[in-house]
């Protein structure tokens, strides 16, 4: 029987943060803390760098703005010119509202797609979601730290000891 990882349940966000600091300092790399809401300070406790979602947003926004401007120029000033009230065929001013909306539209899609890509979601199957204790807690009122067996530093005895020393009352091996 393959094991996915060792999971430790904590009752309060403060306990989870202290445990995360211990695990971080012990040098683990394949581990995570599952919480019902984003715990303020957990990113630092886990040693996570700033999220890269912003780059996707920026890319989306630039694509939206340029494609809006190009589309309007091409349609109204190149492919089929129409004179309306003697106004110029193309001007960045009247093209702005539509390009602005497209900037926001594609930047929003960029942010969301970026978030999903970076999180490797959607994912319809996860070993943790088969564990009753996990499901009853991680999205409800418990703070669950999981260290994967795939972690190079993982050692059943040592890791269990580390989690117990962090104050977890419930430590359990999760099947894959």
């Amino acid at each position: 029987m393959n094991a996915y990882g060792l999971m430790a349940v904590f009752e309060t966000p403060a306990d989870a943060i202290h445990a995360a600091e211990k695990v971080r300092d012990a040098g683990y790399s394949k581990w995570d803390v599952h919480t019902p809401f984003p715990v303020h300070g957990m990113d630092a406790a886990m040693g996570l760098p700033n999220s890269k979602v912003g780059w996707f947003t920026f890319l989306g926004g630039v694509t939206g703005y340029t494609s809006g401007m190009l589309m309007i120029w091409w349609m109204n000033a190149y492919d089929y010119k129409i004179v309306i009230g003697g106004k110029p065929m193309f001007s960045p001013f009247f093209s702005f509202p539509v390009s602005y909306e497209l900037t926001i539209l594609l930047a929003s899609f960029g942010s969301l797609i970026g978030m999903f890509l970076l999180n490797r979601l959607p994912r319809l199957h996860h070993p943790l979601l088969k564990n009753r204790k996990f499901c009853a807690g991680a999205t409800h009122d418990k703070f669950i730290l999981v260290i994967e067996t795939a972690d190079p530093k993982f050692n059943d005895q040592e890791t269990r000891k580390l989690l117990a020393s962090a104050g977890s009352k419930h430590i359990e091996l999760v099947e894959d």
Binding site: P36, Y80, E101, I104, S111, A138
Partner: protein, 479 residues
């Protein structure tokens, strides 16, 4: 940086809770636990529906059916079944469009602008308000679509597709800007709302008892496990979406106001329109949020989550935006006189004292006088009173759009084309029916999706704060 360095303060230092007089009024009353929050909010969607729900749904669906029948009649017969005609070519249709789209703005304001301003109280109301935005945009979208008559040609003038002469839509027209603004607004509001829903759908999935529910909630939760590595990207994406929605919501009603302001018509051709429309939109939207939430907080026993303080804060927003709207009405009149354009002044005199004087004074009493009752704390805390005022705000804002559109159009430059618009029964039934669509969608939403952002409300409780004794803080020095 090591853990030891972070914990330089000796562990003998105990953290005392902040003194009572400095503690803010809590956002969730009675010191409810984190588990209570998910049990209570998810509980609304679980078990049997409350007794009032099915009758309310049947009532809403019948109104919706009435609208469907009216629209079918309109499409089969032509727009002549409405009361509009030259010179009032836009009447209830565009009034209703602007009314509904304006209502949506409060949802985005609560979810995006208050998020950027770190107003934590938004968490109790943002989900319902965002849903209200989506449903209001759906109601709004119907009216411009059906007012064109031959709606089967819509495909040629909504997205940029060349017509049968290969001519593209022309982008100098504010009406086309409006198409892009409203469809972007609808889409981004949906994305924002859905992003907020993902963690709560995971909560619903993990609580679901039936296989079908587990599958459906699980499918739409996209495999969310509450992982902190995911939260990190999620929170950044949420922040960026809030940052994008803020300029979006300001632009949408500005562009809607361009539909009028860019024209040459006295009463429409004013530069104050964009800010005035945005303030009015937020004002009307908060009116609708209160109309929905005041009964719901009692019916669904949400008094601990949507507290009196939440209602009071929303009343203050109504007071502020209502004052901006009142200022805009005054400024419009001032500029009509100061600008020295006799047509502009005539249009405004006609608004207040002409054949549609009654609609103007409805608007003034609901939008200018009503909100100023909220200067009194006693009145802001009286739920029945706030509910009644919120309804008057809705009525007043509908009249505002009616006044702007109909009173400006019914007097043309040529006195021979002057007219007086009267709605027909089809006008009335279509508008009343649009409330059926709105309420049907809202009732389904509150029954099948968590009406309050569970994870966000948890996040603002003291139990969620690792530095608060309730959140498990034992000793100082932690960053």
């Amino acid at each position: 940086m090591s853990a030891a360095a972070e914990h330089s303060v000796p562990s003998s230092v105990k953290i005392a809770p902040p003194p009572v007089e400095l503690e803010r009024q809590p956002l969730v009353l009675h010191n409810r636990s984190i588990g209570w929050i998910s049990d209570h909010i998810a509980g609304i969607c679980e078990g049997d529906a409350p007794k009032w729900w099915l009758p309310a749904l049947i009532f809403s669906v019948s109104l919706l059916t009435m609208m469907g029948a009216c629209i079918a009649y309109l499409i089969v017969s032509g727009v002549g079944v409405w009361g509009l005609n030259q010179p009032v070519a836009w009447a209830w249709d565009i009034t209703n469009f602007v009314f509904w789209i304006g209502i949506g703005h409060a949802g985005t304001l609560i979810s995006a602008i208050l998020f950027l301003l770190r107003q934590k109280w938004r968490t109790s109301v943002n989900r319902a308000a965002e849903a209200m935005t989506l449903f209001a945009v759906a109601c709004a979208g119907i009216f411009p679509l059906i007012h064109v008559g031959r709606i089967w040609y819509a495909l040629w003038w909504l997205p940029p597709i060349p017509n049968n002469y290969d001519i593209w839509p022309q982008f100098r027209s504010p009406l086309l800007w409006d198409v892009f603004a409203v469809s972007t607004y609808g889409t981004v509001s949906l994305l924002f709302w859905y992003t907020g829903l993902i963690p709560d759908l995971a909560t619903m999935r993990d609580r679901a008892t039936s296989k079908v529910k587990k599958f459906l909630y699980g499918f739409f939760a996209f495999g969310w496990t509450g992982s902190n590595r995911h939260w990190s990207n999620y929170e950044k994406a949420y922040l960026l979406l809030a940052g994008l929605s803020t300029p979006l919501v300001l632009s949408v009603h500005s562009i809607v106001s361009f539909d009028f302001a860019v024209s040459q018509l006295p009463g429409w051709h004013t530069t104050i329109f964009p800010p005035y429309f945005v303030a009015g939109a937020v004002f009307s939207g908060f009116g609708m949020v209160l109309t929905l939430l005041i009964p719901l907080r009692t019916l669904c026993k949400l008094e601990d989550i949507v507290t009196v303080r939440h209602v009071e804060l929303m009343c203050k927003v109504i007071l502020a935006t209502g004052s901006i709207v009142g200022y805009a009405y005054g400024m419009e009149f001032f500029i009509a006189w100061y600008g020295g354009n006799p047509y502009e002044l005539a249009a405004f005199k006609n608004r207040a004292f002409g054949p549609y004087w009654w609609s103007y004074w409805w608007m003034i009493s609901c939008n200018v006088i009503c909100p100023h009752l909220f200067w009194f704390k006693k009145l802001r805390e009286n739920m029945v009173f706030v509910f009644i005022v919120s309804i008057f705000v809705n009525i007043g804002m509908w009249f505002e759009r009616f006044v702007i559109i109909v009173t400006s159009l019914h007097r043309d430059y040529l006195p021979s084309s002057w007219g007086y618009f009267r709605p027909t029964w089809v006008d009335v039934c279509t508008f009343v029916g649009s409330f059926g669509l709105f309420m049907t969608l809202f009732l389904l939403f509150m029954r099948y999706l968590p009406m309050i952002a569970i994870s966000e409300v948890k996040g603002v409780t003291p139990q969620a704060d690792a530095h608060h004794p309730l959140g498990g803080a034992k000793h100082g020095g932690h960053h």
